[in-house]
Structures are given as structure tokens and as C-alpha cells.
């Protein structure tokens, strides 16, 4: 009897302590831990101006964390960002698991498609949301789509369709397609071919520019290139525009002003489709650009925007739900209520069949934004943004 009572007292004490702890917690800030995984590699480019900044992408995530925390101070929410770099040949799982073990429930990945899949599958049962802010591979949204991966990066087909719509609007319907010899170049060319077919353009000729190796830039400079590129483009069937597919930075930059016949260049050089541009200022973009420059000392690029968007999506869901529960955050992002303001003239939302972010595509040259797709007149029964990329009726993604 005596024993029972002291046991009860103990239980009561435990209950009181738990209640107290819960009350205290209600006043404590909710932490949102975001891990950012990216490759530890040096990217090559034909023009030194096109070499990605060292903090490409992660810088956008940092600015968004600041934005979320400014809002968070009114809501007692706190966002924490941790960056991890992975060697190109390494297994990404130890790094990802380490973050998850340390309570990082949100992983932003700027990694090749295979690594994205490996991480997504490994953390699937661990209540972790993955945001793909880098890979443009359509396969990640189609055959290999995953229920726990949100894509803020546009796909190659979205980018190609954005460009294709403009070229057709411009009545440049005959395309001379030149593609690189690497796998990524082939995928990009495939997306451009698909765009031509969808919008009534014609690829009148296609050539492959083989990568024979060698340095991207040399001390002898442009002497040889000036002779090489006209010859390479000589004798092509009549075309309105040269469309280059060169993600690997082997030749596209050399095309403008060097083609055999005077024609504009688009695709990987000249008029380039992208999710963002350092000179984009419309729709309040000046504000995020100014904020970004102030924080980083450089201008904002596409990958910065894709990462900014991913962090802001988490912040938006946190703000709207007032919850730190990952499931509630995921449910909100997947609900019809979700949308985000992203300085592109209209709200961005997710395609519910594969969790790809719908977004306008900017078309720009090196200096300025030329146009924004979807172009006027490309209609869709649900959202004009779904005229960009693989649409629901054609999708190969079959999520539960």
C-alpha cells in the first residue's frame, strides 16, 4: 500500500514534469533544419564569365533562410541551413544519413540524377522531404519520379518548350540543330526535338559536335575557332535559326557571329532558356536581386533561384501550418492551397502528378531578358504553365 502510493506520487511527478516541459516547449522556437547537399567539383566553361560561382545555389538558399527567419521572428520559427559537399565519385548516402540523424528533415539536393534517387530512396521511410534544386533530368519526374521529392529545378523539356514557343512565335520555324556528344547534350537535344515537333517547327538538319577533349580555354584564344566554326556550319539546309544543345560547354559559346550563314543562335548559347537571369527585374524581382547582391556580392543565377525557392517553399508551409511536423508540412505543400510568390509574374504551384514546380521560363541573352514563356496564345485547359514540359496526359510517373 505504502509502496503503491509512492509509485502513484512518482507517476504524478512525472506527469507534472512532462506537462511543464510541454508548456515550455510551446513557447520555444520551432526549428526547421535544412541540409544542402551539392557536388564538390570545379565546373568548366568556354567563357570564363560562365564558370559557375563557388557558392552557386547555396547562396540562394542562404538568402531564403534569412527571409524565412525574418518572417520566423514573428512566428517563433527558426530556420537552420547546413551545407555538405560530396565528391563526384563518392557515395552520397553517408552524408545524407548523417544530416538526417542530426535532425535535418529537409534535404535540398543539387546533385546528379542518380545521386538524387539514391538519397530519396534511402530517406523515404525517415520522414524526410527532398527538394531537387539542380537536376533538370525529365526522368526524375517521369519513370523515376518519387513521392518524397519536390522539384524546383525546371526540366529540360520545360526549358526547350519555353524556347520553342518563342522561336515559333517569331516565325523561326526551320531549325539547324547542333548537339554535343555527351549524354546530357543528347538529352537536351531530345527535348529540343520534342519541342520542335509540338509547336510546328522543323529540324532541317542535325549535326553532332564531337568533344575530342582538350582544354576549354587556351592562351592562343580565338584564332583557330574563328576559322573552325564557319566551316563546321557550312552547307547546312536552309534554316532560320541555329539551335545548340551543349550542356557540356564544348562548342555552343563559339557559334554566335561565326556561323557560315548569318543566323541567330539559341539553346545553349545566344537566346538561352532558364529559370532565372541576373538581369531579371520584372515583377518585383529587383527586390530579391538587390537583397541577393547585398548578401553575396554577386548577382543571382538560376540555381540560386531554384534553391531560394526550395527554402521558401518550406518557409511558406511552416508559416501557413504553424507546425514543425514534417508530415503536416508535406501535406500542406501537396494541398491545393499551396502556392508561392517567386518574382515571375504569377504564383508558382506544383504539378500534383510528379511534384514538379510549374514556373515561367525566362529567355535571355548574356545581358538581358528577351521574353518570358509561356508565350501568348499557347493555351491549356488547366494552366498555361503546363504548356511547358511533359504534361499530365503524357506522364510516365505513377505515384500512389
Amino acid at each position: 500500500m505504502q509502496h503503491m502510493s509512492s509509485g502513484r506520487l512518482f507517476l504524478l511527478a512525472i506527469t507534472m514534469w512532462l506537462l511543464g516541459a510541454l508548456n515550455a516547449r510551446a513557447n520555444e522556437a520551432i526549428d526547421f533544419r535544412i541540409g544542402y547537399l551539392r557536388l564538390d567539383e570545379k565546373r568548366l566553361a568556354l567563357s570564363v564569365l560562365d564558370v559557375p560561382p563557388r557558392d552557386d545555389g547555396i547562396a540562394g538558399a542562404k538568402v531564403a533562410v534569412n527571409d524565412n527567419n525574418t518572417t520566423g521572428k514573428f512566428l517563433n520559427q527558426n530556420f537552420i541551413l547546413e551545407e555538405v559537399k560530396i565528391a563526384p565519385e563518392a557515395d552520397p548516402l553517408p552524408a545524407a544519413n548523417k544530416l538526417v540523424d542530426a535532425g535535418y528533415s529537409y534535404l535540398i539536393v543539387d546533385l546528379p540524377a542518380a545521386m538524387v534517387l539514391k538519397i530519396a530512396d534511402a530517406v523515404r521511410e525517415r520522414h524526410v522531404l527532398v527538394f531537387n534544386a539542380g537536376a533538370t533530368d525529365d526522368v526524375l519526374r517521369e519513370e523515376e519520379c518519387r513521392v518524397n521529392v519536390f522539384h524546383t529545378a525546371p526540366t529540360r523539356t520545360m526549358l526547350a518548350d519555353g524556347l520553342g514557343q518563342y522561336l515559333v512565335w517569331k516565325q523561326w520555324r526551320n531549325w539547324f540543330l547542333i548537339r554535343g556528344s555527351h549524354e546530357a547534350d543528347k538529352l537536351w537535344a531530345e527535348a529540343l526535338r520534342r519541342a520542335a515537333k509540338r509547336f510546328g517547327a522543323k529540324i532541317v538538319e542535325e549535326r553532332v559536335f564531337e568533344d575530342t577533349g582538350g582544354a576549354r580555354r587556351t592562351d592562343t584564344g580565338q584564332v583557330q575557332i574563328q576559322r573552325q566554326m564557319p566551316v563546321f556550319t557550312q552547307g547546312a539546309a536552309d534554316h532560320d535559326v541555329v539551335v545548340a544543345a551543349d550542356e557540356s560547354e564544348v562548342f555552343a559559346t563559339y557559334l554566335p557571329y561565326r556561323t557560315w550563314v548569318p543566323r541567330p543562335v539559341a539553346g545553349s548559347a545566344g537566346l538561352v532558356p532558364s529559370s532565372w537571369h541576373p538581369a531579371h527585374e520584372q515583377w518585383g524581382a529587383t527586390q530579391i536581386q538587390n537583397r541577393f547582391v547585398k548578401a553575396t556580392g554577386r548577382r543571382m543565377q538560376s540555381k540560386d533561384m531554384q534553391a531560394w525557392t526550395a527554402v521558401r517553399i518550406i518557409g511558406e508551409a511552416a508559416q501557413r501550418t504553424g507546425s514543425g511536423d514534417v508530415q503536416k508540412i508535406a501535406d500542406y505543400i501537396k494541398s491545393p492551397q499551396f502556392s508561392l510568390a517567386a518574382f515571375k509574374g504569377q504564383k508558382v504551384t506544383f504539378r500534383t502528378w510528379n511534384w514538379q514546380l510549374r514556373q515561367p521560363v525566362l529567355l535571355s541573352d548574356a545581358r538581358s531578358v528577351v521574353s518570358v514563356s509561356p508565350q501568348e496564345g499557347f493555351l491549356h485547359q488547366f494552366s498555361e504553365l503546363d504548356t511547358l514540359g511533359i504534361d499530365q496526359p503524357e506522364t510516365k510517373c505513377n505515384l500512389p
Binding site: 514573428f74 511558406e316 510568390a341
Partner: protein, 323 residues
Amino acid sequence: MQFSPLFSGALALAVAATPAGAYKVYVSNEKDNTISVVDSEKMEVVKTIKVGQRPRGITVTKDGKYILLCASDDDTVEVIDAQTFEQVGTLPSGPDPELFILNPDGSKLYIANEDDNLITVVDMASKAVVAEVPVGVEPEGMGISPDGKTMVNTSETTNMAHFIDTASHEITHNVLVDSRPRFAEYKADGSEVWISAEIGGTVSVVDDKTRTIKKKITFEIPGLRAEAIQPVGVRITKDGKKAYVALGPANRVAVVNGETYEVEKYILVGQRVWQLAITPDEKMVISTNGVSNDITFIDIATDEAVKSLTVGGLPWGIVVAPN
């Protein structure tokens, strides 16, 4: 002596057709770096004033003597004499001022500094900054209660309306609204604040007593996609019975019943309609239509667009002189 029915009818018609009093309307043209001065009766541009870089927010002092203008890219607020149209001074503004509001007695100017997440409070007599209030990301819309005791600021990326006590300069309430809130307008009786959300596509009516949303107004226009409906400027008549909401790229101004919150009409104006102003006699509401470079006069009695008038490049802000 009696009037014939015909004569009295003609008299009534003549009274009804009496034009609105002539007011000076000031329109800031963001692209041209000018202000268009418009005669509200003739509905004509009477003067174009050269101003600083990227003019946006514009207002007039309570006595009508000075025009205040946010020259955003010059990081300054210009003070322009409303008689001579000469710039007579500047006010400290903090960087990139976009929108501002004078308090009811005209003694304080509250300026939204988008790049610094700050509200700058300027004392009009001493022309000095007396306070800076940290708010959410990208502060924009500015409203003030009729008693001057509460200032409401909207922050576009934080999606909140911040209620600020103008005595202590402290935020007392944060109300979460829809995406990208652009504008805050108090009813003249101080009972409600209407807050537009450009990307969310809604107007939230916030009860001033409880500081909670009592109604969310949505808009539907046949043949237009929801994404194109982007509410920005909001103006409410003094009796609180009618509100006008500029719907951005929907190219329309919505007429909303101020008591039932029902949308009663959509008036087609020009392209990308941004901001609105009501004449002091409440006969006209005027919209700035950015992309079509014009302003549209709407008759408040009939809610019909009366005339569109070309002003400068990308008209942005608009204010009507009080006298």
C-alpha cells in the same frame, strides 16, 4: 408661377450632368521619370513635371501645397511645390522607397523601405528620421487608421500585415494574409482594414478591434485564368459602402460592396492596373494602367469607365489634390 414638366426635367438633367469639381490629379510615371498633372474636370494632362529616377509612391500634403514623391532609384523622397511644380527639397527616406503614407494630421510620413525590411518614420516639421521599425521581408503597402494611432504595413514575402502602434513604434499584431500583400486601406470609420494579396488573388478584410480576418474576398472573371487576377490598389468610399480593387493584369477594377463584401461589377480599364485614387467629392475613381500608359476615369455613380487618358510611360502611383 410654375415650371413646365419639360423645363423641370431639363433642370434636373442639368444638375445631374454637373461635372465633378476640378481637382489636380498627380500621376507618377515609373518609366518616364515624370509626374503627369491632370485636370480632373477636363480630363486632360495640363503639365508634365520632370522628377528623379523611378518615381512610384506619390502623395500630397494635407494642405495641398506640396507633392511628395518616392524617387525609388534615387533613394529619396522629393518635395515638389504644387503651384510652381519646382522641387523645393527632399526628405530622408532610407534606401529604395516605394510607398508611403502621411498620418491624418500630416505631421509624420511613414515610408516602406523594401530592401531593408524597415519602415522609416519621418517627422515632417523637422524633416528628420525619428524612428525605424523592423518589419517582414519586402515591406510595401502602408495604411493608417483615421485616428492616426495605428499604422499598417504589408510585407510581401512575409505575407503579413503588421499593425504598428504609432506612439511606441512597436508592432502589436501580425496578421497572416495571402501571398504578396500589396496594399492596406482603412475604412473611414476605422472599423476594418482591407489588404490586397497580389499573388494570392484575394483581399482580406481585417477587423480592427480583433485584428483578425473577418472576410476573404475572392474574384472570378469569366474567360480569365485565376493567375491573371492580381489585386493591388484598394480604395473605399467615405461611407464605407463601396470599395474599388485594381486587379493588375486582369485589366479590370472590381467594385465590391463594402457591407456584404460581394463583388458587384468588374470594370474594364487599361492594361496592368496598379493603383487607384478617389476624388474628394467622391464622384470619380481613377486608375493607373501601367502597360497601356494611361489612366481611366470611372464614374462612381454608375460604375462606368468614362474616359481613358494617355499619361507618361508606365503610370504607377496616383493621388488627387485635396482642394
